[in-house]
């Protein structure tokens, strides 16, 4: 076990809310009469429907095929009939293309993918194709197509695979439960990644506040040739660059990908889904999601089918007992606030968090009092105070020079600011502006030639 490093900055929310659901074993809810499955659940280009209204499908049957490299296929969460090719409210607040699947209650599985029991001797390409064909994306939240991450260019060698079981977002316990209950699946997934990339070292990283996960992983890790790294509780411990530094002591250069320093980070949920895709030939049609928060009647963890509408997911948790001010997809630090109960659970929905009126405080955009809390909190060692002032005054060139593009948008600055300045929000806006300016400059340069 090599020495662990401490990334700069970071914050400690006083109450992490994990006690609400950490002790609840993953439950499998009953089938629903209908699911809404959005077309695009990954970062990249959208797929293309292969079903039409009135088609009958089996569980795991292809709904949409991949259209390019940065794309993954989509599968039916249960057996039934395609009631409509329609749109639905998405977690980002826009309406997105989706199918409505009316279940037949039989949940009959299609034999789309053959199991690969001899994966240990299978060709890396076969396994990588399986990851793609099963529709697997980063399940920690980014939803980046996993097979792309597993395809580094030939001149880049990955020697360390880090399984991200950190779950540094307060309130979420889905990865924690998965590590406890599906230890072998997680570790098998890690070994499959290792087989694909030929990496020498595999490390599962877990924060200290998950003693049961650590015990479960320690018991089994040696049998799989995997190391367990326990990390201090500090947000954003699970952010890719910070995690690589903590575990491997390597700093990913600004603007570069983890492969630049020979590392690959995958969420534990993604690993478990990969194991199911390879060993059982099961496409990604469900995931473990934490449904929690003080207003929730029975907080806990559920294995939800992709496409489960929010209102049905809440019903599984017994509905609510108090006033609800915010519903978040994801955790409180980076999650997205929802305005509709019809939003469906996606491949990256790690949690559904409800906050009561007393737990929500507004942004006031007060003045900067130069206390330095934001700079102390920033895990990228930026100066959010200066950046916020530049951006408020539309001085994007100066923001760019002050490394605005290196911001990982973790929100530690806005969390820490005593005058509630919307610092990370400013940075998100600046990053979009700077990226647009760069594209415009590149287009102008191309036009000149």
């Amino acid at each position: 076990m090599s020495k662990l490093c401490r990334f700069p900055g970071g914050v400690h929310p006083l109450y992490d809310g994990k006690d609400l659901s950490a002790g609840e074993a993953v439950r499998c809810p009953p089938l629903l009469p209908a699911y809404i499955v959005p077309l695009q659940q990954h970062l990249g280009q959208p797929g293309e429907w292969v079903v039409k209204k009135g088609d009958t499908v089996k569980k795991g049957q292809l709904l949409a095929k991949a259209t390019g490299l940065l794309c993954v296929p989509l599968h039916a969460p249960t057996s039934g009939e395609i009631a409509a090719i329609t749109t639905c409210p998405g977690p980002a607040g826009t309406h997105v293309p989706a199918v409505e699947l009316r279940g037949d209650g039989r949940d009959e599985a299609a034999a789309t993918l053959e199991p690969i029991p001899a994966w240990e001797s299978a060709a890396p390409e076969t396994l990588r194709d399986r990851v793609r064909d099963a529709g697997i994306v980063g399940m920690g939240g980014a939803s980046f197509p996993t097979h792309v991450k597993l395809s580094p260019p030939p001149n880049k060698r990955i020697d360390t695979i880090i399984l991200n079981g950190v779950e540094c977002e307060p309130f979420l316990t889905a990865d924690d439960r998965l590590e406890i209950e599906a230890t072998d699946a997680v570790l098998t997934g890690a070994r499959i990644f290792q087989r694909i990339l030929g990496a020498a070292r595999v490390v599962v990283a877990i924060e200290h506040n998950k003693p049961d996960s650590i015990r479960a992983m320690r018991d089994r890790a040696a049998a799989f040739g995997v190391e367990v790294a326990t990390l201090p509780v500090r947000y954003p411990q699970g952010a890719e660059k910070q995690l690589i530094y903590a575990v491997a002591g390597r700093k990913v250069p600004a603007g570069a990908l983890p492969m630049e320093v020979g590392c690959l980070v995958q969420n534990v949920g993604t690993a478990a889904a990969t194991a199911a895709a390879v060993l059982q030939g099961q496409p990604l049609i469900d995931r473990v999601t934490t449904i929690t928060g003080r207003p929730v009647a029975n907080p806990g963890n559920w294995r939800l089918r992709i496409g489960t509408p929010l209102k049905d997911a809440l019903a599984f948790a017994g509905g609510v007992t108090g006033e609800v001010a915010k519903i978040l997809f994801g955790g409180p630090m980076m999650g997205m606030a929802q305005s509709s109960l019809d939003v469906p659970v996606l491949k990256n929905t790690s949690g559904i968090l409800l906050l009561g009126p007393g737990e929500v405080s507004p942004y006031t955009s007060g003045p900067c009092i130069r206390c330095g809390a934001c700079a102390d909190a920033c895990p990228m060692r930026l100066n959010p105070s200066d950046l916020g002032i530049y951006i408020e005054n539309e001085r994007f060139a100066e923001a760019e020079a002050a490394s605005a593009m290196d911001c990982i948008e973790c929100g530690a600055c806005a969390f820490a600011c005593p005058t509630r300045r919307p610092l990370v929000q400013h940075l998100r806006r600046a990053k979009a502006e700077i990226a647009a300016n760069r594209r415009a400059a590149a287009a102008a340069a191309a036009a000149k030639k």
Binding site: V11, K251, A337, R370, R381, A416
Partner: protein
């Protein structure tokens, strides 16, 4: 993990008693959705709490007059802040506690004999001129309480340098005027055989009502450091520089320059180092900047105390260094972005 259920729902998830959130009441905003509970008001209250020992020592040594002076300063500061808010058509900002803190600091920087109207003028200078004219909290380059004090010192030099004898625990209504040890040293009238550094440390000496008890200020200052409300680098660099320069000066010429202990334990050094030079808005952003700032304050304080006509130079030195903060910030940035250097080699 159990196998997924393969039977349809027995009970519809829309059963009668099920309560779902009221969508019309949902707030939609971008992340993060949690905040550190330490907001502006809490910071101001904690700093005032850290000033409580110094305030109580002022009352103990100088009687109820001390509360009268502090009360006028705080009341006038809040009134001026509210008046400026109204005049400038800005939202009322007295709730954040920053005006009250400025008033408290001004009061602690005055003699217990200060008349009420001088307190009020000082508060008007501090809040009206030094803070609100610059745009309010966060935009003032100079420490408001010190602008108030130095403005008064220039306008009413006699009143501002009228000091009263301490009367520990007697809570007298009237007091006997005297000179401060620093002033006596400057005039060559300090009875050295009567100097007790124990008394100096506890606060039993004439001076501004909040500056005399080093014990109380140290207690409050350590609380601020423990709560991470100030960075220890500023007071450490300030006190360290003063100790270094006065120590060398005294060693070189003991008859001309007072000792290191004398300089550390007299005047407003502790109050300045822990509570005035550490003001967030008017001090450097980084720790390294804080060291430069504190050291600069120390050098200027020593120059004034040792070689200028004024017996004391803490207020001036901090205000002068306030003016240099933008340059110090340019010099001492927050450092290299994480991972900005070239990829480190790995085997």
């Amino acid at each position: 993990m159990t196998e997924p259920a393969t039977t349809p729902a027995a009970a519809e998830p829309g059963a009668p008693q099920l309560r779902l959130p009221d969508v019309s009441k949902l707030i939609v905003s971008s992340s993060p959705h949690l905040h550190d509970p330490r907001d502006l008001r809490r910071i101001m209250l904690l700093v005032m709490l850290a000033l409580l020992p110094a305030t109580l020592s002022g009352v103990f040594f100088f009687g109820w007059r001390a509360l009268w002076v502090i009360g006028w300063c705080i009341g006038a500061a809040i009134a001026v802040e509210a008046g400026c808010n109204k005049l400038f058509r800005r939202p009322l900002s007295i709730g954040d506690g920053s005006a009250a803190l400025t008033g408290l600091l001004l009061g602690l920087n005055l003699s217990a004999s200060t008349p009420w109207w001088v307190c009020a003028i000082g508060a008007a200078l501090a809040i009206g001129i030094a803070k609100q004219l610059y745009g309010g909290l966060g935009y003032n380059p100079f420490n408001p309480a010190l602008v108030g004090r130095v403005g008064l010192l220039i306008a009413f030099p006699a009143i501002l340098t009228t000091w009263v004898k301490t009367a520990p625990g007697q809570f007298l209504a009237d007091a006997v005027t005297t000179a401060t040890p620093l002033g006596q040293w400057k005039l060559g009238t300090l009875p050295l055989d009567q100097v007790s550094y124990g008394d100096f440390f506890l606060g039993n000496l004439p001076g501004c009502l909040g500056e005399t008890s080093k014990a109380a200020l140290l207690l409050g200052g350590l609380l601020l450091i423990a709560l991470k409300l100030i960075r220890w680098q500023v007071p450490a660099a300030y006190l360290g520089t003063v100790a270094l320069i006065t120590g060398i000066a005294h060693a070189a010429s003991p008859a001309k320059f007072a000792s290191l202990e004398f300089h550390l334990l007299t005047g407003g050094l502790f109050l300045g180092a822990f509570f005035m030079a550490t003001d967030m808005v008017t001090s450097p952003f980084t720790r390294l900047g804080g060291i430069l700032f504190g050291a600069g304050c120390g050098v200027i304080t020593c120059i004034i105390r040792l070689w200028c006509n004024y017996p004391e130079g803490v207020s001036f030195s901090i205000l002068i260094m306030n003016a240099l903060v933008p340059f110090i910030d340019r010099l001492c940035t927050t450092g290299t972005v994480f991972g900005a250097r070239k990829a480190e080699a790995f085997a």
